[in-house]
């Protein structure tokens, strides 16, 4: 049996956007997270957020709660071969660092808009830079 489902309004939050939420830096990002929108994350964000919180000396229990929240609220996407290969071109074309290009490509391959706090993306299409 086949059903029709709308596939618009997908947003991929990068690590800075997630951290802006947990660190209460930006109310705009809360509007995305505390909505009914479909949210995506890159598995790299789990690495980056966990690493950053360890550096910030956040307790193991709190880190686990943050990671659990991210995993439950968003669909966590792996870095595939397709993403890796496209990211190499996008990195060079847009002068983006490697991880930034993987995040951006993960968003575009999955037909979503990247939400970030990173000014590297300010002139790149299909990107929302929260500020």
């Amino acid at each position: 049996m086949k059903l029709k489902i709308p596939t618009k309004d997908k947003y991929l939050l990068d690590s800075s956007a997630w951290l802006a939420y947990f660190y209460g830096e930006n109310k705009q990002v809360a509007d995305y997270i505390e909505s009914e929108l479909i949210l995506l994350s890159s598995s790299i964000s789990l690495l980056e957020v966990k690493r950053k919180l360890k550096v910030d000396k956040i307790s193991v229990e709190r880190i686990a709660k943050v990671v659990q929240f991210m995993s439950q609220r968003s669909i966590v996407l792996d870095v595939t071969q397709e993403i890796s290969e496209q990211a190499s071109d996008i990195s060079l074309e847009n002068d983006l660092p490697v991880v930034d290009s993987i995040m951006y490509t993960t968003a575009t391959v999955n037909k979503s808009i990247l939400v970030t706090g990173d000014p590297h993306y300010k002139d790149i299409k299909n990107t929302v830079v929260i500020s």
Binding site: M1, I5, P6, T7, K52, V66
Partner: protein
């Protein structure tokens, strides 16, 4: 924009049941209600205290 998904007859029966029970107009609306229920969580805004975006980005990625 819409796309197509495949479900079993059993799942379709559940969807029909919940569509009628929830007075939903479509299967899409039923699925959205289910997703909302599953992903419903307490707010964690500001859970870790306060930090500026500059502080968040510092050391987040090796190249920055």
């Amino acid at each position: 924009m819409v796309t197509t998904i495949q479900v079993t007859e059993e799942v379709l029966d559940y969807l029909k049941h919940f569509r009628d029970r929830a007075s939903a107009e479509s299967y899409n609306e039923v699925i959205k209600k289910m997703i909302k229920q599953i992903s419903k969580q307490d707010s964690m805004y500001g859970y870790l205290g306060k930090k500026s975006m500059k502080g968040i980005l510092k050391g987040l990625r090796d190249a920055e």
